[in-house]
Amino acid sequence: MSKVASATFRDSLSVSLTVGAYGVAFGAAAVANGFTVLQSCLLSLLTFSGASQFAVVGVLGAGGSAISGIATASLLGIRNALYGVIMAPRLKVRGLKRVLAAQITIDESTGVALGQEVRGIDEMRKGFWYTGIGVFIFWNLFTLAGALGAQAMGDIRAFGLDSAVPAAFLGLVWPRLTGNFERALAVGCAVFAIAMTPILPAGLPIIATAFIAIAVGLKK
């Protein structure tokens, strides 16, 4: 393995391990919110997109319907379509390989690939595949561990899991709060969702904030 290739591999591996470890939090959150271990693992294998997975378990855990959960998760999954648009002309794959590439098109694989731009197109492709496959392996293993761990707990509140779940959401949104506009949007949506919780059916207060985002995004 050449020096350049090993640098890409190192980037991919460190991202895969770090992100994969979040899978523990997801597996635990899913079980804490009423999903079975099998359902938790299927979400990680098939949905394979952290924010969407956390969202669907969060909405159902809050008493929302399956439709609310699916809608919230899918709105968060739109960005993967945009990543696909960026990656497709660079990967140039067809058939089964395109199916595999699509499944591992997430924040991290796209991010690492774009990070290799200065090293050339071959390294971008390697970064995408190494990271996507690496995160997939670790994310799924750690999901199983987290789900089994939470299942063994009994009263999840005694282990603080009821707080670990919103803390995990907060950790996901925090890096996106880059300016005053983003912070104001976050606080506004949080307050709106809380205010609507006693009024609207569960799940809707969360989805409704997506329309706030669309409205301010169109206006600005």
């Binding site: 979040y22 999903f35 979400l43 098939l46 949905t47 997109s49 969202a55 969060g58 159902l60 855990g61 809050a62 008493g63 399956a66 959960g69 699916i70 998760a73 899918s74 709105l75 968060l76 999954g77 960005r79 379509a81 696909g84 648009v85 990967l91 199916v99 699509a102 509140r157 282990f159 603080g160 009821d162 707080s163 670990a164 919103p166 803390a167 995990a168 959401f169 907060l170 950790g171 996901l172 949104v173 996106r176 709060l177 949007l185 949506c189 949080a190 969702a193 809380i194 919780t197 006693p198 569960a202 207060p205 969360i206 989805i207 997506a210 985002a213 669309i214 301010v216 169109l218 600005k220």
Partner: protein, 102 residues
Amino acid sequence: MNAYWIATIGTSVIAFALKYSGHSVPEKWLSHPKIQRINGLIPIALLSALVAVQSFSEKSKLMIDQRLVGISVAIIALLLKAPFPIVVLSAAVSSAAVYNWL
């Protein structure tokens, strides 16, 4: 089939359809600056709403309990630039302490 199964399968099917469509539609369809911008704002809105609802409600009722302590500790950890696992763990430990001993 209960709601959890419908949610698991439905989310997975749409997640893949979104990913695959990105690889298959012409680039110009999705590269409009407004779409890009809204796409950056949607996660902020939904995740912030989820933080709030998961911290301060139980089904359709608002509630202040040990989770207030947990989420406050998480905010402090994030302000101190702690890594993700520390944020989640510190929230869990402080919340569990309040639940078990207060």
